[in-house]
Amino acid sequence: MPEIKNLSYIQAVNHALRWSLETVPNTVVFGEDVAVPGGPFGATKNLHRDFGVDRVFDLPISETAFLGMALGSAMTGLRPIAEIMYSDFLFVAMDQVVNQIANIRYTSNGKWGAPLVIRTQQGSSPGACAQHSKSIEAYLAHTPGLRVVCPTTPMEAYQAIRTAVVSDDPVFVVESRMLYPQKGEVQLDAELWPMGGARVVRPGADATIVAWSRTMTAALEAGEQLAARGVDAEVVDLRWIAPLDVETVADSVAKTGRLVIAHDAPGTGGFGGELAARVGERCFGRLRAPIARVTGIDAPLPAAPALQDVALPSADRIAGAVLETMSA
C-alpha cells in the first residue's frame, strides 16, 4: 500500500530532504539557521539531530561563499543542498550562480559537473519589504546551465526536491513562502518523477491560463470564478521553468485559442514574455485573441497591504483578463 501522508508544503520539503539524506550518498545540507534551529521556516527540522553536524550544518551570513562551496563540493563528490533563506538574498551571491555554477559543465567540456541543489523561497507577503518579496525565476531562466522548478503543492515540492537531488545538473528549487502552510497528500514512496513537464490542473475548453509558483492559487481561483460565469478555463501549472514544457501549453492553446499568463514577478522581462513569445510562434494563426499577461507591477513591491493588493495578480484580475480575451 502506498505510504500517503497529509502534509503541509513545508513538511513535504522536510520529508524530501530527509529522503535525500537517507537515500542519496554524500548529500549534505547547509545554509543559515538550517541545523540546530531547523530552518527559518522549519524545512530542515530535526535533520541536524538525525544526520549529524557533518551532513547538516549552519553557516555564516556569507551566501557567496556558501554557494561557491556548493559548487566546489559538487564538483568533487558531494551532493550539496544549499538553502538561500529568501530568494532576494540570491543577488548577493549572483556571481556564483551566473558565472560559476551555470558554466562549469559547459566550459569544462563536460568533464566537471555541478550536481547541486539550491533551495529558496519567493513571493510577497503582507508587510514584507521590497527586499523580501522578489520572484526571481526570470533571472534564473535567462541563465543557461541551470534547472529551475517552482513547486505549488506539497506533493510537487516533495517530488521536485527528490528529482533535483538525484539530478547531475544544478537545480534551483524555488519554493513559495505563501504556500508553506497549505496541506496536501504526499505519497512518500512514490516513484521519482522525471525532470520537467507542465501539468494541466484544471481541464477546460474555452481559454488557457498558465501560472506557476504562488500565482497558481490565484489562477485556480480564477478558473472557479470563470466556471461560475460559464467560461471553461484550462489551468496549467508550468512547474518547471527549465526545462520548459512549451508543448503542454501550446497543445492547450491549440485547443482553446486563448492564453492568459500570470506571475507575481514584474511583467517587463518576466518569464511570461518568454512563454508568450514561444506560444505566439507555435500557435500562430490559431490564437483567437492576443496573449494576455497578468503580472506583478513594474516596480519594487511595496510593503503596505493596501498597496500590495493591487501590485500582484489576483484571481479577479486573471479572470478579467480571460474574459477580455473571450470578447476579443
Binding site: 540546530v36 556569507s62 508587510g127 514584507a128 521590497a130 523580501h132 519594487p300 510593503a303 498597496l307
Partner: protein, 314 residues
C-alpha cells in the same frame, strides 16, 4: 539635566516605542514581521548624541532606534510600520526597510551588510562636498561575515572617508551564535585587516558608547578616516516578532535583563542622587509622547492604491 539623564530619556523613548509596537503587533495592526532593538538602545542613543543634523545614518532592519534618534516623526514611524500612508516612506518600506530623507536617515536595510557600502557613499559625499559631516552605519555582528562589509571597510580606509561603522554585537545572527561563526574573540580585531582603528566597548552603557563615538566621529570630521566601534550588547527579545528563542540557553535573557541599559542607567541615576519620582516622571512623559504618536498613527489613512506606480522613476 545631566548627560546620563538625557541619554536615559532618549533610551526610554526607543524602549517604549518598541514595546508599544510589540503590543500593536499583537493586536494585528502590524503586517509582516518586526525586529526590535530592545536591550540595544544605548548604542543608537550613545552614538547619535554626537551627531549633527546634516550627518547621515544608515542602519539595519533592527533600526527603529536609529530612526528615532535621527529625529524621525514618531507617528510617521508607527504609521510606516503599520502599513499606513506615513510621512516616513508612505507605507512602501515598513518596519525593516524604512528611511527618512528629511532627517538624513539613509535608511534601514534588510540585506545583511548592504548598508555599509551605501553609507560609504554618503561618506564620500561628506568628504567631497565638505562641511565636516560624517556618515554612521550600524550593522550586526553577523554582518561582519558578509563580503559587502569587507569591501566597504577596506575602501573606506583606502579613501580615508568619514565613515563610522558601529557593530552592534548582540551575540546572535538570528538563531546562531557569533562565536560559532567567526574565529576571533572580538570583532574589533578585524579592524587591523583594514588599517582601521577599532575598539570593543560596553554597548549597554550609553556614556561609554558616546565616549567611543566622540573619538570616532571627531576623527572622521577632521579627515582622519573611518573607525569601527564594536558595542557589546544583548537583545532582550527575539530576533523577530515571532521568534520563540528556543535556541537561547535557559536564564540567558533573565541574566541579560539585570544588566540591560535602562536598568543600569536608572540605577546609576538613583545612585547619583536622582530620586525615583523624578525618573518616573520622565518615564511618564515619554509614555505620553509614545501614546500620542501611536494615536496619531492610527488616524493616518491607508495608502491610496491608485498611487502604487508612483516614484518608481523620478
Amino acid at each position: 539635566m545631566s548627560e546620563l539623564e538625557e541619554l536615559y530619556r532618549r533610551m526610554l523613548v526607543i524602549r517604549r516605542f518598541e514595546e508599544e509596537l510589540a503590543e500593536v503587533k499583537k493586536l494585528g495592526e502590524v503586517p509582516g514581521s518586526i525586529h526590535l532593538c530592545i536591550g540595544q538602545e544605548a548604542i543608537p542613543v550613545g552614538v547619535s548624541a554626537l551627531l549633527l543634523p546634516d550627518d547621515y545614518v544608515t542602519a539595519t532592519y533592527r533600526g527603529h532606534g536609529w530612526a528615532i534618534e535621527r529625529g524621525s516623526d514618531l507617528a510617521g514611524l508607527f504609521g510606516e510600520i503599520m502599513g499606513r500612508a506615513s510621512s516616513v516612506a508612505g507605507g512602501r518600506a515598513a518596519s525593516p526597510y524604512l528611511s527618512d530623507a528629511s532627517v538624513g536617515f539613509i535608511g534601514e536595510n534588510s540585506i545583511v551588510g548592504a548598508g555599509v557600502p551605501i553609507a560609504l557613499g554618503a561618506a564620500l559625499s561628506c568628504d567631497r562636498l565638505g562641511g565636516g559631516r560624517v556618515s554612521v552605519v550600524s550593522i550586526g555582528d553577523g554582518a561582519m561575515n558578509q563580503g559587502n562589509v569587507h569591501e566597504a571597510l577596506n575602501m573606506a580606509a583606502v579613501l580615508a572617508l568619514p565613515l563610522v561603522v558601529v557593530v552592534e554585537n548582540n551575540g546572535y545572527s538570528e538563531m546562531v551564535r557569533i562565536e560559532d561563526m567567526v574565529r576571533v574573540t572580538n570583532l574589533a580585531e578585524r579592524g587591523a585587516a583594514y588599517g582601521i582603528p577599532a575598539e570593543t566597548v560596553d554597548g549597554n552603557d550609553p556614556v561609554v558608547v558616546a565616549r567611543a563615538a566622540a573619538v570616532a566621529i571627531e576623527r572622521a570630521r577632521t579627515g582622519g578616516g573611518p573607525s569601527i566601534i564594536e558595542a557589546r550588547t544583548q537583545r532582550l527579545v527575539g530576533h523577530y516578532s515571532g521568534d520563540a528563542q528556543h535556541y537561547r540557553p535557559a536564564g540567558e535573557v533573565a541574566a541579560a535583563r539585570e544588566v540591560e541599559p535602562l536598568v543600569r542607567a536608572r540605577a546609576a541615576l538613583l545612585e547619583a542622587g536622582r530620586d525615583a519620582a523624578e525618573l518616573d516622571a520622565i518615564a511618564a512623559g515619554v509614555d505620553r509622547e509614545i501614546q500620542d504618536a501611536l494615536a496619531a498613527a492610527r488616524l493616518l489613512p491607508l495608502p491610496d492604491p491608485t498611487t502604487v506606480m508612483e516614484h518608481v522613476y523620478a
